[in-house]
Symmetry: none
Subunit: 249 residues, 2 copies
């Protein structure tokens, strides 16, 4: 019964009953109360639940209707798994770049309760994080209708004014030859985000790994870590190149 398993159980309990009790939890899972407490504390630190005396309750996800965000994402489960890992990397006080990829967008749900600053050029991200604990900064510039995000010279300049502790970015493809994008605009934004953050995470599902498409806009050295569901043997080459690999189950 490891942490992942227990975490799952905790959320099952929370979803069905709305609250968990340390004593009961410890008894049901066959663990010590101190362990149950530590689990809940950690999950509370990640903003995934609220701690109470003797247990925890679930956060109320003050749901708002966002008509224009296309929620029917493909591969939602894989992307969510990747985003859970990503969210665990985020600490209170972080300043975070988020770009306009569909994977990165799904990170929103996991960071709503964190006290952090998010700087983004993505309208869906903005609408998703409005009225959350997150403090928002919007990259200005021309709106690209198709991507629902700001791009262009002014956007790049704007990014250059900020320094983030962490960047969470998507790409259209990545291989040992570097990063690939479907447009120069996207490449420019990604480069700007990565260049102005202390640590850069790339979020990409297995389908993106090894994929070379249209524009090769930078080497692997731009990236500090890749969060992916791809197999360990596939990722070994990247690790040998000095890129940290975080595997999402």
């Amino acid at each position: 019964m490891n942490f992942q398993k227990r975490k799952q159980k905790i959320f099952e309990e929370l979803d069905s009953r709305g609250e968990v009790d340390i004593k009961k939890l410890a008894a049901e899972l066959g663990i010590a109360e101190i362990t149950a407490r530590r689990d809940l504390n950690q999950l509370a630190a990640d903003g995934l639940l609220y701690r109470t005396h003797g247990g925890a309750v679930k956060v109320n996800p003050q749901e708002r209707p966002h008509a224009f965000v296309n929620k029917t994402a493909q591969n939602a489960e894989v992307k969510d798994a990747i985003c859970r890992v990503a969210a665990a990397q985020i600490q209170e006080g972080d300043i975070i770049f988020m770009d306009c990829g569909s994977t990165v967008f799904r990170l929103c749900q996991f960071i709503k309760n964190k006290r952090i600053k998010v700087i983004t050029n993505s309208l869906p991200v903005i609408y998703e994080l409005q009225d959350s604990a997150v403090s928002l900064n919007i990259i200005g510039g021309e709106l690209d209708d198709a991507r629902q995000a700001m791009h262009g010279i002014i956007a790049n300049e704007h990014i250059a004014r900020y320094r983030a502790t962490k960047a969470f970015l998507g790409v259209d493809g990545i291989s040992l030859n570097g990063l690939f994008a479907n447009s120069e605009k996207e490449a420019g934004i990604t480069t700007a985000f990565a260049g102005n953050s202390a640590y850069t995470y790339l979020l990409c599902d297995a389908g993106k790994i090894g994929r070379e498409t249209y524009l090769n806009f930078g080497g692997l050295d731009i990236v500090d870590a890749i969060i992916t569901n791809a197999g360990a043997e596939v990722m070994q080459d990247y690790e040998e190149r000095g890129v940290k690999v975080l595997r999402a189950v």
Copy 2:
């Protein structure tokens, strides 16, 4: 039955009945009256309810600044009349500044089909004009949650990079002594917009005319024209100062 659970119950009760009674609360939740009292005191300290003798009532549901989602704006007819006049001033090819006032927001519906560029710091405006004929440019910077708009140093700098043919702006008040705003941030944005557009329209209903409030941030010379429903005789003074007045019926 911990504090969080009780808190939930208290708000359920408040929402349905509008008030709670300490005795009943203690009986229903199976807690001592002193505990119920302490709960209510704490929630009152957080401003989540008002304490009364023997219980509590709910706080006035203060208007959420989600005015754009809640489209039932006050004075909608007057504002729409003003905006129709404003929209008539806009030609194809114009580059337009729009700020985050509630009157200016209502201009959106009248310009959706025009082939123009709109530069704005207002999220509601962006939301409303997405997927229209209008080409959008978003002013970046820190998001002010209450106003749902970008403000601050970076926003002002960003505005300074652009030149518009026309600006459509709101204020909190205007008198012969100049323009008035409720915050420095707002004043800064308005000044920046006006300073970088060839022609500046002020949209204000009769209630704003002659109103002096908080911060006087500029003289009448900032403005080229006022669009208003105020009476002709009231507006004569402004015309004599060289401001063009467009009257909305």
